[in-house]
């Protein structure tokens, strides 16, 4: 598998660390059920999925990658810092 890092270009999967579904972090005060959903529950689609990858052996960027889990086709990549996943703070 090869992922195109916005900074480094196309790189082998071996350079990346996988974190999983890219979800928006709830507000600190949110109900525990909401946090449970964020930490534990997963839509786990067999199709396009927004997920977080870390270019650990490259430029250290966290990436939001949209990838089809059924075909492994990569549909989009952006810097996670621009993806607005931090939620309200």
């Amino acid at each position: 598998m090869r992922i195109t890092c916005p900074l480094c270009g196309e790189r082998d999967r071996r350079e990346f660390y996988y974190k999983g579904a890219a979800l928006v972090r709830p507000a600190e005060g949110a109900d525990l059920d909401v946090w449970h959903g964020y930490v534990n529950l997963r839509e786990n689609p067999a199709g396009p999925l927004d997920e977080l990858w870390y270019h650990e052996m490259g430029c250290n960027s966290w990436l939001k990658v949209t990838r089809d889990t059924a075909t492994h086709e990569i549909l989009a990549v952006q810097l996670a810092s621009e993806a607005g996943l931090g939620g309200e703070t």
Partner: protein, 417 residues
């Protein structure tokens, strides 16, 4: 038809003309007491024990492909009961006992071979963890023993004891552990269930789950609707997809785990051996193939195939730990879809929907769990009470944080298992 050496002899002498189908191919009925979604090892075992232990035979197993085509047919065939956390301990202990009597019970030779498993450790920390585990196993009533480096050397002289990177310090052995012929397990349960009247329906994908007033009433399939008093999920890697049909979101991520087999070779590896450094597990099949595996590929996937980095990691660990197998040739690799929970342990529980039952989240552990899973799941479905050996496999543990079973200690989060 009952199988035996005599039967094989008699058929052999009469041109093998008398063999009968292992199972029927019935048309689905319009209604069943229990519909099991998934004709893999767990689904088939569940059907078998529903019929055998609980006398519930008006049961259909719906399989979208062919019986045993999922993870039960694509794994490294290891059977063991060497877990250490409450919940896993009693469950896998229960499962191993069922393995030990399975073949006579099923009248089917699944080649369950108790050749013993050796978990190797390389440093003090790993040794102390092995000791904690070994003690837990013995406290559970199963067997475990600590092996010195020299004791390991006697059992597996071909290992690289002098590896100047991660020398082998010793091992934790469970002699009752071993391997089994994975396909035969599925076929044995299928045949046993079929003989007891269960309908095994292949090429019958479930496309919907019918829920009325918070209660399940049946399923929609490519072969038409089927009403059911109870519906039981046994869809392994596809659990999330199937649960979604009932509007449920599970604490499950599907990942790919690769397995590997080499060309046939004369016997060299007599036990199941695992390595703490690099997480490699190896054994040798009766046909002579080295069967081995390592980590997940570590990305969500339904593709049932892997990529090179994890293949290479697995081979590199193999070369480092067992340089004597370097010239063995990898014949085939394949991937299974693992339903991973945050803590790496399974779920066998009621769902929030009345009459809908959950059996998922087997992570790496599905194959060895097959008989245990079938028996406790059947118990839950039949009695609506959890079986004693599976009382801790609760769905709500992730919400409450109570009774999490993080065997690896890597953390109860999805990306960490």
């Amino acid at each position: 038809m009952r199988f035996s050496g005599w039967r094989v002899l008699r058929e052999g002498l009469t041109g093998n003309k008398g063999w009968k189908p292992h199972w029927r191919d019935p048309e689905p009925k319009s209604e069943y007491d229990v519909v099991i979604i998934g004709g893999g090892g767990h689904g088939l075992a569940t059907a078998y024990y529903l019929a055998k232990e609980h006398g519930i035979t008006n049961v259909a197993v719906l399989e979208k492909g062919y019986l045993g085509g999922g993870n039960v047919g694509r794994n490294t065939t290891i059977v063991r009961a060497n877990y250490y956390l409450p919940g896993n301990s009693e469950f896998y202990s229960h499962s191993l006992k069922l393995w030990e009597g399975m073949e006579q019970d099923l009248n089917y030779n699944a080649m369950m071979s108790q050749r013993g498993i050796i978990n190797l450790f390389h440093n003090d920390g790993q040794r102390d963890a092995a000791v904690r585990r070994g003690n837990a196993i013995v406290n559970q009533g199963d067997d475990a023993e600590l092996l010195s480096r020299e004791q390991v050397r006697k059992l597996a002289p071909f290992l690289n004891f002098e590896n100047n990177r991660f020398p082998i310090m010793g091992g934790l052995m469970q002699r009752r552990a071993g391997t089994a012929r994975h396909d035969a397990v599925a076929w044995g349960y299928a045949r046993g269930a079929d003989m007891r009247g269960v309908d095994l329906i292949q090429n019958c994908e479930v496309t919907g789950i019918d829920v009325e007033g918070g209660k399940v009433v049946g399923v929609q399939t490519v072969r038409g609707p089927i009403r059911a008093k109870k519906v039981a999920l046994a869809a392994a890697g596809r659990s999330g997809q199937v649960a979604a049909m009932a509007g449920l979101t599970l604490p499950v991520e599907s990942h790919v785990l690769q397995a590997f087999v080499s060309e046939g070779l004369k016997p060299i590896v007599d036990h199941v051996i695992t390595f703490a450094e690099g997480h490699l597990y190896i054994s040798q099949s009766d046909k002579g193939g080295l069967v081995f595996g390592s980590y997940l590929d570590f990305y969500s996937s339904y593709a049932a195939r892997g990529n090179l980095p994890m293949v290479e990691h697995t081979m590199e660990t193999f070369v480092a730990m067992v340089p004597a197998v370097s010239k063995a040739r990898l014949l085939r690799s394949w991937g299974g879809i693992m339903d991973m929970t945050p803590d790496g342990s399974p779920i066998i529980d009621h769902s929030p929907i009345d009459g809908l039952y959950l059996n998922c989240g087997w992570c790496y552990g599905g194959f060895k769990a097959t008989p245990g899973s079938g028996s406790v799941y059947a118990h839950l479905i039949a009695t609506d009470r959890p079986h004693g050996a599976a009382a801790r496999f609760k769905l709500d543990r992730f919400r409450s944080g109570a009774g999490l079973m993080d065997e690896e200690g890597t953390g109860a989060q999805h990306n960490l298992h």
